[in-house]
């Protein structure tokens, strides 16, 4: 539904978006993940024509955004929930949108109800809204025209846990009815549960993409082991050609647990604890974007000599 091809945007010497290509499928939620300043917002702004690209192209449903007549009826956009006039009421903001798109005013009430903004709240001026309320209003605005594509930039920002759960259900239902959703976030856990597909971006480049299983499959196997003689076990494992590092009471080994067991058996070391050291998406996310992080998250990399994760090479398969 959304097709991004070779998208690049430079500002002088700085490249905000660097040769980004991906596709969002109808009926699926695509999560667009990356640390702050990775290029998510710029990419989304280019999609809807607010920022001209330096190179590359974006089509939505086969059309350039600028070629879609009355685009609000086809593509719902929420780029910044605060980018509304603070002096207008929530209801007035939706009314302006509905009028522009040529929708009946009943649609405004429907959308207010959908995002659980009460009639009293809808009559308050936007500057008196909390960020969570602004996000709800922004989602209502994006859904006004009953679009088949949703482009949402950090929609969960400012929502409380209940709000995030509500949004998850809303977007899931929307995708199940055949809609395509692209939503960005800098927090993995916000999108992990709803995204069918994930695109990881760092420093303007896509570092990995695929569904959760595909992404995790790319992670190199590792094991956590504790034994009665960690020193001897470590030596044996190193001799066997596996990377070993200290992790808490025990060792982290760059191989599946079965190999550790085999080496331990040969070395005659008694194991106390042996389990998989897979660290899930959160670490994968942090590793993939490690060189692009503003600061290193403490504890994110438990052991120094871990090899950098290999970027997913399935860009073709994702299509």
């Amino acid at each position: 539904m959304i097709k991004v091809e070779g998208l690049t945007r430079t500002y002088g010497a700085f490249t905000a978006v660097d040769d980004v290509s991906f596709e969002c499928q109808p009926g699926r939620v695509t999560g667009f993940l990356g640390p702050n300043g990775a290029g998510k917002t710029t990419t989304m702004r280019i999609m809807v024509g607010l920022t001209p690209p330096s190179r590359g192209s974006v089509t939505i449903g086969g059309h350039r955004y600028a070629d879609i007549p009355n685009p609000g009826r086809h593509v719902g956009v929420l780029l910044d929930a605060s980018a509304q006039h603070g002096g207008r009421t929530g209801r007035e903001i939706l009314t302006l949108g509905a009028r522009t798109m040529g929708l009946p005013m009943s649609r405004v009430d429907e959308m207010l109800e959908l995002v659980s903004l009460t009639p009293a709240e809808s009559k308050r001026r936007l500057r008196n809204y909390s960020l969570g309320m602004k996000q709800r209003l922004g989602i209502a605005h994006a859904l006004l025209g009953d679009p088949s594509v949703l482009i949402l930039d950090e929609p969960a920002n400012g929502l409380d846990p209940a709000g995030i759960r509500w949004m998850r259900g809303l977007l899931k239902g929307y995708a199940d009815r055949g809609g395509a959703v692209l939503l960005s976030s800098h927090l993995l856990h916000e999108v992990e549960l709803i995204a069918d597909e994930m695109i990881l971006i760092g420093n303007g480049r896509i570092v990995a993409q695929g569904d959760k299983q595909t992404l995790l499959r790319e992670e190199k196997p590792s094991s956590l082991v504790t034994s009665l003689d960690n020193g001897r076990l470590g030596e044996a494992l190193t001799q066997a050609g596996f990377g070993v590092s200290r992790a808490g009471e025990g060792l982290r080994v760059e191989c599946p647990p079965v190999e550790v067991g085999r080496v331990a058996l040969q070395a005659g070391v008694v194991l106390v604890d042996l389990r998989t050291g897979s660290r899930g998406l959160e670490d994968l996310f942090l590793q993939l974007t490690a060189d692009t992080q503003r600061e290193q998250a403490p504890g994110a990399q438990p052991a120094p000599p871990t090899q950098p994760m290999q970027p997913v090479q399935n860009q073709g398969a994702a299509r």
């Binding site: 059309h63 609000g72 949108g97 522009t100 798109m101």
Partner: protein, 269 residues
Amino acid sequence: MSATAPVAPRTIDISNTAPIPFTRLIGVEFRKSYDTRAGFWLLATIGILVTLAETIVTIVGITQDDADLNFGNFVQVAAFLTAVLLPVLGILLVTGEWGQRTAMVTFSLEPRRSRVIGAKYVVGLVLTLVTALVAVVVGAVCNAVLGLATGGADWTFGWSIFIGFLLLQSIAMTTGFALAALLLNTPAAIVVFFALTYVVPTILAIASVFLDWFEDFSHYIDFQRAQQPLADLSLNTGSEWAQLLVSGAIWLGIPLVLGLRRILSAEVK
């Protein structure tokens, strides 16, 4: 999970979607001009000040026997005020979208930005016309009151003055609009507008006094002076036309073209 999902179309059928009609854009932009406090009170202020000023003129006419007022005078009083307020209206129509960043939403809903800007300009012209009509209606009421009080109103009203009033106010509004498009910042546009309107003519006049050769030349760059014959549509000679067009191109045309180019191509943040 994708293998079992129903195959949804990957293209959007846009053949049944009509573009947003221009009249609808005008309607929305008109609504935006009064649905905020700043917008509402600017329009209200224009109405209130025009009424207030014309009331004062009426009181002067009633109490001073030698005032000798006619209907046209009321319109001229209004023009004095609206020449200050309508440019601010023109500025706010444009910069309102940038100060609060609503341009992001506006241009997402209508990516053909020129249509949005066109709709805003039409709203500016309509509000200028409404202002002129309010001035005339209030002036008519005041003149009638004056007539009742003094025993006979002078209904002399030059249509050329009314048309001239409309033209001058539209030019003032357009100049504000152009500067706003160029600067995209409310205070800066207001300051620059009043500098151009009140400071530049003074500087040009002073320069003309000291430099003989400059005087003829200054007539071609003094936009305010060149507009004066428009007030009663007495723009007759070719040189007056040339002065209006040249100075208009400098102070209105260039900012407008550069400003429109900026809005149409700029990144909207």
